[in-house]
């Protein structure tokens, strides 16, 4: 497989102690909210692809929610949250001045070293970690292109939260951007040889991107989702199957080499 020489995704700094953070800004995009938190100790250690465990305020939810870092700069981190169930809905209702507990950064990060051309492929809320990644890659001088797929107009509202120069959007219902899935964008792109693929989204999308990547002779990385309890490697609740057996998304992941996952 062409990924044989890809960098490993592990061994990024993880930090599980709780940071009590003030909400410094909230922007709403339909059912999505981009929440900016003052979290200097998290921001300082963070790398794109990592996530935080967020306590849903109010005490009604036992488990914390894993949320990717959407941004990190200075003493701030950004989260992009989609209201899906009760907990994430409450997170989208955070207001400036509210306090929220987060633990992180946790998990592995997207390797970026030496990357000159990057193609970021996101589906739905899976796009969230790709903004921070794009910022990092751009800062390191890489050429960044992004292709985001959404189900419909409602879910495409998320796109408004992103600022990536070369960003292509597709919706399955054709309401925004190209009609179809993100694969339709990929098919239409002129991808430079040696481009590194970074994917995050629902499993069927990841599987399709994986096939496409291999067919193009490229290599890449993927961030996976799993239901989590601890988020910190203790419970073995978040396993996914990989070439090296069952591994924990919170600990060995969420970022894996595209050639080692079986979505």
């Amino acid at each position: 497989m062409s990924d044989a020489d890809a960098q490993t995704c592990g061994d990024h700094s993880q930090w599980a102690e709780t940071s009590h953070c003030r909400v410094a800004g909230v922007r709403h995009f339909g059912a999505f909210a981009a929440v900016e938190l003052i979290a200097p100790r998290v921001a300082r250690r963070a790398a794109p692809g990592q996530f935080v465990m967020v306590t849903v305020p109010g005490g009604g939810f036992l488990l914390r929610r894993p949320i990717s870092l959407f941004a990190a700069h200075g003493d701030r981190i950004g989260l992009l949250v989609e209201a899906r169930g009760g907990g994430s809905e409450q997170l989208t209702q955070l207001d400036v001045g509210d306090n929220v507990d987060v633990a992180g950064p946790l998990g592995s990060a997207f390797p970026t070293e030496g990357v000159t051309n990057a193609l970021l492929v996101g589906g739905g809320i899976g796009c969230a970690p790709l903004q921070y990644l794009a910022d990092q890659l751009a800062a390191e001088g890489a050429q960044v292109t992004a292709a985001f797929g959404f189900r419909d107009f409602r879910s495409a509202r998320a796109a408004g939260a992103f600022s990536i120069d070369r960003l292509w959007v597709a919706t399955e219902d054709g309401s925004v951007g190209k009609a179809g899935t993100v694969l339709h964008i990929l098919a239409s792109l002129d991808v430079a040889p040696g481009t590194t693929i970074y994917a995050c989204g629902p499993n069927p999308m990841v599987a399709a991107v994986q096939r496409w990547t291999f067919a193009e002779g490229l290599r890449g990385y993927v961030s996976l989702e799993a239901h989590m309890a601890c988020g910190t490697g203790s419970c073995h609740g978040c396993v996914v199957d990989t070439a090296r057996g069952k591994v924990r998304v919170c600990s060995e992941g969420p970022v894996f080499r595209l050639d080692e996952v079986t979505p």
Binding site: A16, T232, G237, V239
Partner: protein
């Protein structure tokens, strides 16, 4: 030693604990904690003893995903005893040999010989291990919630199967032996009596309640294993009742109580129901600092209520 506040140490059988709180097996991984900590987690380890995740004779890959989700005031898990097997587990011992606190090793299996094999392997290793290459292993907790190979039922739901497991393990070690009871029974004292009769030194309870959660979209069982174990605050009232029953039935038996402990008051309630020590499970998932917070709250509760010691509070709820 002159102490002003309440006396926090407790004796769990022969094991002296600095305070009553331990972690519940499967919910706390010491090495993972230390990797994510700004300091020496071994020095700052908050529990009075460490109970690692259940280890079995052979490596197990566990259940298919998803394995966990939240329920009203609780959570459900179906990890399926994923673990590297006792031999790989023993190989890791040097990594946490510097832990000062005693360790109670949780042991699993599907038949008595499998439990005994784990203990025998570990005892053999410890007998030969060089000083400083292993933590202070002082006891075992037999997790009898695994399904019995022959009956399919949980071993712990069958008093005679429970007794067989305990008896086999009793042969294999002189260390302190706890049987961890399942709550999925009519009368938790039946398995308790069987375990004690077969040589257990104490009882831990409760393990999780067999339960099912459906996927909201498909109305199919959500967990990869279809069913899983319910824990957390939702079950605390049932767990307290069971601990009280066991403490009443076996007054001098060391008991590790657990089920939904989230605060120091919760821990004190288990002590009031007769627990000698209290294990914290799902609360570990709520915050990295949960163990030290709960410990501080327990200390504050004891102090505010004027208890001279943890022992003084023990069994409060059982007395008329």
């Amino acid at each position: 030693m002159i102490s002003d506040g309440p006396q926090h140490s407790v004796s769990l059988g022969p094991i002296l604990l600095d305070h009553p709180l331990v972690d519940a097996s499967g919910t706390f991984d010491l090495l993972e904690y230390s990797r994510r900590y700004d300091g020496d987690y071994f020095a700052d380890f908050p529990y009075a003893a460490y109970v690692p995740k259940t280890v079995t004779a052979d490596a197990r890959t566990g259940n298919p995903a998803p394995r966990v989700t939240e329920t009203p005031s609780g959570m459900i898990n179906a990890i399926g005893l994923e673990n590297p097997g006792i031999h790989a587990w023993i190989d890791q011992l040097p990594e946490w040999a510097s832990l000062r606190q005693p360790v109670i090793v949780s042991v699993g299996g599907n038949e008595p010989e499998q439990y005994a094999a784990v203990i025998a392997a570990l005892e053999a290793h410890l007998a030969a291990a060089a000083a400083g290459t292993a933590p202070r292993i002082e006891g075992y907790e037999l997790n009898v919630s695994c399904p019995n190979v022959s009956s399919g039922l949980q071993i712990g739901a069958d008093p005679s199967a429970t007794a067989e497991v305990v008896a086999a393990c009793r042969e294999a070690t002189d260390r302190f032996l706890l049987a961890k009871l399942t709550p999925n029974v009519r009368d938790v004292t039946e398995a308790g009596a069987a375990a004690l009769g077969a040589g257990a030194d104490g009882l831990s309870l409760v393990n999780t309640f067999k339960a099912m959660v459906l996927d909201r979209q498909t109305l199919k069982p959500f967990l990869g294993n279809r069913t899983g174990g319910l824990c957390g605050p939702a079950i605390k009232p049932i767990a307290l009742r069971m601990v009280a029953e066991v403490a009443q039935a076996f007054p001098d038996t060391p008991i590790v109580g657990m089920g939904g402990v989230m605060t120091g008051l919760d821990a004190l309630e288990f002590i009031a129901c007769g627990a000698t020590a209290v294990a914290v499970g799902a609360a570990n998932f709520t915050a990295f600092e949960a163990p030290s917070r709960i410990l501080q709250e327990l200390r504050d509760e004891l102090e505010a209520r004027g208890f001279a010691s943890v022992a003084e509070a023990r069994g409060m709820a059982l007395r008329a």
